[in-house]
Amino acid sequence: MIKIITLFILMLGGIGARVHGSETALAGLEQAPTRDVELAFGRLTQSKGSLPLRGSSPEGQVEFGVRSDEVVSSATLNLEFIPSPALLPVESQVKVYLNDEMMGVVPIAPEQLGNKSRVQVPLDPRYIGDFNRVKLGFIGHYQRICENPVHSSLWLDVASSSSLSLRYQALPLKNDLSYFPEPFFDDRDTRPLTLPMVFAGSPALAQQKAAAVLASWFGAQAQWRGQRFPVLFNQLPERHGIVFATNDQRPDFLQDYPAVDGPTVEMISHPQDPYVKLLLVLGRDDQDLVTAVQGIAQGSILFRGQSVTVADVRPLAPRQPYDAPNWVRTDRPVAFAELQNYPGQLQSSGMEPSPMALTLNLPPDLFMTRDPGIAMQLKYRYTSPKTDDGSRLVVSLNDQLLRTYSLKPERQSGEKLLQLLLLQDASGDNQLTIPALQLGTSNQLRFNFDYANAILGGTPERCETYQPIPNEVVIDGDSTIDFSGYRHFIAMPDLRSFANAGFPFSRLADLSQSLAVVGKHPGPAQLSALLNALGAIGAHTGYPALGVRLSDDWQQEQDRDLDVLLIGAIPAELRDDRNIHLLFEATRSWVQMPARQASRPELMPDSEDDRPESEAKIDSDGPMAAVIGFQSPFHEQRSVVALLADSPRGYQLLNEAINDGGQRAALSGSVAVIRESGINSLRVGQAYYVGYLPWWERIWFSLAPHPLVLATLTALSVLLMVLVLWRVLRTLSRRRLSPDERD
């Protein structure tokens, strides 16, 4: 409820401001560029699919946002649906609301019953604001008297191919940095962020670092949306973009721009298209650019006007390991309230309240194997069911059932201590067994209140119907989940943890223990790979990579205790390393295959299966990219992740693999080959372990599945001890019985 009110207030404010602004704008700029967008329901609904409306849950909604540099000039709702054949025509209807304003009614005609129907409902663009909600209300009837409002024949399925046709019109924007990061990043835009970065030519290391930090900062803003940073050399972008320029080295289109006397961030319009904005990051030299980017990352809250100069950015306290803002705290129990992403996430209402979900991002190296479970203290409140009818609360993790609790009629709240079981549930109650459920890097904890709603229907002679009352359920924000006290220990190489969490680089959120090795004079594709990779890590951590170190000479950095991100190619010195199981050079590639492919990559490595068994060399002209992970040859606790590509197309493949969530999921093991067809991952070679696990815990870990070995050791220990004890006691007793032997 609170959520609705807040949204409503937000919208009222938004609409007022927007309507006023757009009218004036529309008057003057009829030729403003427009784009037509078709938003399919399949992407908008919560379930990412069709929108079923039923008697028990007659309402469905989709939401969409509008960027601040655009306005919707016309909108149409294209509804595709199949109504139940049992409905009474005309009495049954679908109401369409836009931001709670009625936009139209779709009566169900007799010929539509049971057939796929298409209806267009025009939406009044004046009611469209920043955040918008299109709500469908289903009013269904199947008989005239004594109707059961939740009868199973009351349904209407809105297909996922239904869509919103929107015509966006660009708005001319003032060059005002106080809106920053808009329009470069707009959080109402759910599309992946694409932000071109423009350099005068192949940039020096410091300039690359500035770009990398900025990319990771934008990645942190973009979060789940995805991000892409195409790189242009001395070329104007076609959309909002970032331009790096020093006083000496500038793209041609900025040649006559006045020199700056310090790190400066400025927003200007595209010289050819006033609707496109450019963010200039300027400085006297490359170092100034880094400072300017740091200013963006740490001080954008103070930005205003068209141009700002960054006077100074000083770090005050170093980041601690595992303190990334996007990760669940591991130093103390975390309240659910800290984990929620938006207000109202932990409450729900309705006849069948929709499930509530919490996302838990965990450091990938939490060592939780063999732990009995994670303590979760769950408090919840609910509308009590009238009878003990089997209504229940279902708790599931990553779509796997954890526990169910029945909702008792006499109570309205519950409090449960729950061990999130990581292993087989051997307590045997409820016949509930969880198949080796494991927490991954990103986990969804879901709470679903299932009500068995009893509807009193009555008989045809004496008919009584009741207005069904929606059930209100709340998970208390004070509920806690505790990930503290776990050791950090993980078998590497593990590309899955790199793909899903940027590990091991993200161990320090500012990447201050990471080194990115780039090629000398990188081309745009290679640079783009660097920016995309750091942007992805930023999206995982939620923090800019302020501490990252860049180098183009592998040799110089040997004695630094850092994790290494290699971009482009394996340095020549490493080519003979036995731990590198995939190599390619020009058109020739080598790969080593494991003795047996890991069936479940998330399980602990098995050195027998992973042993390299063969090596193959293939020559081909086709493009290819690869991601490989291996132990740093200089520090045994450090890792190298290499992003390799052989051609511009190869880099393109690589960038797609890093940015696309679906493709990223296929990255795992120690070697991933990226071809036009997709990604193939292998786990091959000896695993190495990163993190700290005391020697005794290692022994425990290795002995845990071998009770017979331990029993033998016990017998041995007891036998040895008794042998010694027996001899000593025998001597002692003899001495006791002959006292004069004593001194």
């Binding site: 201590l417 109650d429 029993a711 007891v718 007793s733």
Partner: protein
């Protein structure tokens, strides 16, 4: 070090090379010969192979290892030797030791060893670094280190439930395998296994069963954990105490009788009737010791004229002191100032000494000049309240058996035998050095021996009863006595803590600490009796773990502890009886020990009453009140458990069932405590003692009939004739008994006659006759020798069902004494249960006696 070891090493290497070549020439393979050489090296560094014992073993190699050829080793021979040695160690009966270590167990051997070890020591002092002895010590240390590390791993290794199940089953199988094997080695194995499993349990409890999120659960959980830690500590110390009972035998008096020391026998009394004291004094008069070197003192703190007259008549010295401070200790100290003997023997006024008491004990004082105190067991010929009220006299070892049979004997190994107030001899010079009997605490005896030990004096214990007395006759008196002991021990713990202070060896400190800790069992026991209620009534998770895990950790801990204890103390206390004994006392010693712990000077001395009667069977309601309260609480727990089963959370059902099982066990133990409080009738003033003693009866007509005395008391004798029908009821006869070479006659009347069994009542005896009777019966040297022999071997499961049946009987008799229709109901229920139980099949049992010893009716 290196230059010292150098020549030795090269010599050894040469010898080893020779041996290797020898093996090879006999046709051994390279690995077999190499392994054998390595094994020899290891054996040589661990054991004294050159010693006569090992030499003897090696000469008889073919006998002990018939399947192994030493001159031509095979590759698996190391394991074969190990297995065969283990087999021999475990299976060889104790009597066959001599062939292996012929010298060790004979006197001649000990003499040899004495000289040898002195020589050894001198040798090791001069050339310690290079001697194989030093190496061997290092080898042994390494062995201990390795085994301790392994043990730590086994204790701490976390397992999930299935693997834990496998693990504990294997350990259990090991324990069961060695359980029946004879010898101390197997007993030590059992102890070590039990220790390991219990440590593992406690480790698990501390590391993974506390719920820090819920304060209520945490509170109760910590309470239970503290109680369990206490129980663990007592278990460990108990194992330590009984690791190696010394079985000290009497040693001959080496000096000529003229050089024997003067001994004062002191019999303190306070309020006991004269009839109790008389036999003691009479028996003391008959003790074998030169009369001029033996002074008997009757120390009457009650200052009674009859006692003074009796002492004068009997010819013993009478001492009554003008003031009465410090009770028994004060009484003794007052008398000690007037006595001048070199040794003092102390007997409680009801402890009748046998004639051999001094002869058996004094030898050790000659042998060990530092010996300050020698204790013998307290033996009771009357049933204690447990035995009487439960009807178990003579069927199960009594409560004291464990202490005098095992613990004191075990203490003796560590030179930590306590003085127990009676039946002991003390060296006067040592006693004077510690300022006489200690008066600061109410257990003056233990405190005195603690002080003696602190001065470096030694103590000894001979496990042969040399005196016997009366047990306390009522439960309340028994409890009163235990309260006194408990308070006294805790007082010592506070005032003169054995763990701190000077003079004691670590082993002595541990033994004393255990004796004192033992009496703090009240509160932990009460916690165990109520712990499951915290879950059933208050829903506090006292052990925060799944029920199955609790079972998989706790049960092995309990089973192994019981198996080990059954093995080491089964002869002296049957399994699970401790539960009953401790539960009865728990409530009563909880308060005084706690008070004494905080304020050791509070509390008074109470005298243990003896020689009284219980006129009528009754329930001692006052004594059993706390148990009734506990029973009611547990009953509430049962009801709550039933409710939880029916309506509670389905997830908790295993936990509820586990708790209910625990509650039921507690209920039955409490039932046992109540059964003890049902005081059985006790009317016979003089207690019968069973014996088999050749004697004769003379009829008035002068006919003599040989007979066997089957039992006797202070006023009557039961005899068994060889033929039937020679005596008539009411017939006056004369009984002839032998005392050494002397024959004594006692006039008596036939009271009862059942076949050949005759009950005689002794006529009023003169003083001389009475002395003679006591010396012919109670004071005979062999009277109490059969002590302990009549008990069958402990069977834990049988004992458990015994104890549980006892608990059930307790409830039944409780209802019997309730004036209500409940009586009939309970009778019906128990008849039904007995009927159901009669269907259970059972094994014919050879070990158990068919019934209690049958008795004739010696009626006073």
């Amino acid at each position: 070090m290196n230059w010292l070891m150098g020549p030795l090493l090269s010599q050894g290497l040469r010898a080893l090379g020779l041996r290797y070549r020898g093996y090879r020439s006999q046709g051994s393979s390279v690995p077999a010969a190499g392994l054998c050489c390595a094994g020899l090296l290891l054996a040589w560094s661990l054991f004294r192979l050159e010693s006569p014992g090992w030499q003897a073993l090696r000469t008889r190699h073919g006998y002990w290892f018939p399947h192994l050829a030493p001159e031509r080793p095979r590759s698996g021979d190391g394991l074969r030797y190990l297995l065969q040695a283990g087999w021999l160690l475990l299976t060889r009966p104790a009597g066959q030791r001599q062939p292996i270590w012929p010298a060790r167990w004979r006197d001649a051997g000990s003499r040899r060893r004495r000289s040898a070890s002195v020589a050894d020591r001198q040798e090791s002092e001069t050339a310690s670094p290079s001697s194989p002895r030093g190496l061997r010590r290092i080898g042994r240390m390494l062995m201990v280190l390795v085994s301790v590390l392994l043990a730590l791993l086994c204790i701490s290794q976390p397992f999930d439930l299935q693997t834990q199940l496998v693990f504990v089953m294997v350990l259990w199988a090991m324990a069961m395998a060695v359980r029946r094997l004879p010898g101390r080695f197997a007993a030590l194995l059992m102890i070590m296994l039990s220790l390991l499993v219990s440590c593992r349990y406690l480790w698990w409890r501390y590391t993974s069963t506390l719920n820090w999120d819920d304060p209520l659960s945490l509170l109760f959980g910590l309470l239970l954990l503290a109680a369990e830690t206490y129980a663990w500590l007592v278990l460990v110390l108990g194992y330590f105490q009984s690791l190696w009972p010394l079985h000290r035998q009497p040693t001959p008096l080496t000096a000529a009788p003229a050089d024997w020391p003067v001994i004062d026998i002191m019999v303190p009394t306070y309020n006991e009737p004269l009839s109790v004291v008389k036999p003691t004094i009479y028996a003391a008069l008959g003790i074998d010791w030169p009369k001029d070197k033996l002074n008997i003192y009757l120390l009457d703190d009650g200052d009674r004229a009859t006692f003074r007259e009796f002492a004068a008549e009997a010819g013993v010295r009478y001492i009554a002191r003008p003031t009465h401070e410090h009770a028994k200790a004060g009484n003794l100290n007052y008398a000690l100032r007037q006595a001048e003997g070199e040794f003092v023997a102390i007997f409680d006024c009801d402890h009748v000494p046998t004639r051999t008491f001094l002869q058996l004990t004094m030898g050790w004082f000659f042998k060990d000049k530092k010996l300050a105190m020698l204790q013998t067991p307290h033996h009771f010929f009357s049933p204690d309240p447990f035995e009487r009220n439960l009807g178990r006299f003579g069927q199960t070892p009594n409560e004291g058996s464990l202490f005098y049979g095992l613990l004191q004997d075990g203490n003796d190994m560590w030179d930590a035998t306590f003085f127990c107030g009676s039946c002991a001899v003390i060296r006067r010079s040592a006693l004077d050095e510690v300022g006489g009997i200690a008066v600061e605490t109410v257990t003056e005896d233990a405190h005195t021996s603690l002080r003696l030990h602190r001065l470096g004096y030694t103590s000894a214990y001979i496990r042969i009863p040399q005196a016997a007395g009366l047990a306390t006759e009522s439960l309340s008196a028994h409890i009163g006595q235990r309260i006194r002991w408990a308070r006294g021990m805790v007082q010592i713990f506070r005032l003169d803590n054995p763990l701190l202070g000077k003079g004691l060896k670590l082993t002595q400190r541990l033994c004393y600490a255990n004796a004192m800790l033992h009496f703090l069992s009240g509160i932990p026991r009460l916690i165990f009796l109520t712990a499951p209620l915290a879950f059933l009534l208050l829903h506090a998770y006292i052990i925060y773990a799944p029920a199955l895990a609790i079972a998989l950790y706790m049960l092995p801990h309990m089973i192994h502890a019981n198996l080990a204890n059954s093995r080491i103390q089964g002869k002296y206390r049957y399994s699970f009886w401790s539960e009953v004994y401790e539960s009865v006392l728990a409530w009563y010693i909880a308060r005084p020990t706690t008070v004494a712990l905080f304020n050791p000077h509070k509390g008074t001395f109470n005298v243990t009453g003896k020689g009284g009667l219980v006129e009528q069977a009754h329930v001692d309601w006052e004594i059993s009140r706390p148990y009734l309260v506990l029973v009611l609480l547990n009953l509430c727990g049962l009801i709550a458990g039933g409710w939880r089963l029916a309506y509670g959370d389905a997830d908790e059902i295993p936990t509820v069932i586990l708790s209910l099982g625990w509650v039921l066990f507690n209920m039955l133990i409490l039932g046992g405590a109540i059964a003890v409080a049902v005081e059985a009738r006790q009317v016979r003033q003089a207690h019968r003692v069973d014996i088999a003693l050749p004697a004769a009866v003379k009829r008035a007509d002068g006919h003599l009939f040989p007979c066997t005395v089957r039992d006797y008391s202070d006023g009557g004798v039961g005899i068994e004739l060889r033929q039937d029908g020679v005596l008539q009821e009411g017939e006056p006869i004369t009984l002839l008994l032998k005392q050494g070479q002397r024959e004594c006659t006692f006039p008596a009347t036939v009271r009862r006659r059942v076949g050949t069994r005759i009950g005689l009542q002794l006529s009023t005896m003169t003083r001389e006759q009475h002395i003679a009777f006591i010396q012919c019966t109670f004071a005979r040297a062999d009277t109490w020798a059969r002590w302990q022999d009549e008990f069958a071997r402990d069977k834990p499961m049988a004992s458990l069902s015994d104890v549980l049946a006892l608990g059930w009987n307790g409830f039944q008799s409780l209802l019997d004494y309730l004036p209500s229709p409940l009586t009939r109901l309970s009778a019906g229920v128990s008849r039904l249960l007995a009927w159901l139980a009669s269907f259970i099949p059972r094994n014919p049992d050879q070990d158990m006696p068919l019934s209690g010893p049958s008795r004739t009716f010696a009626q006073p």
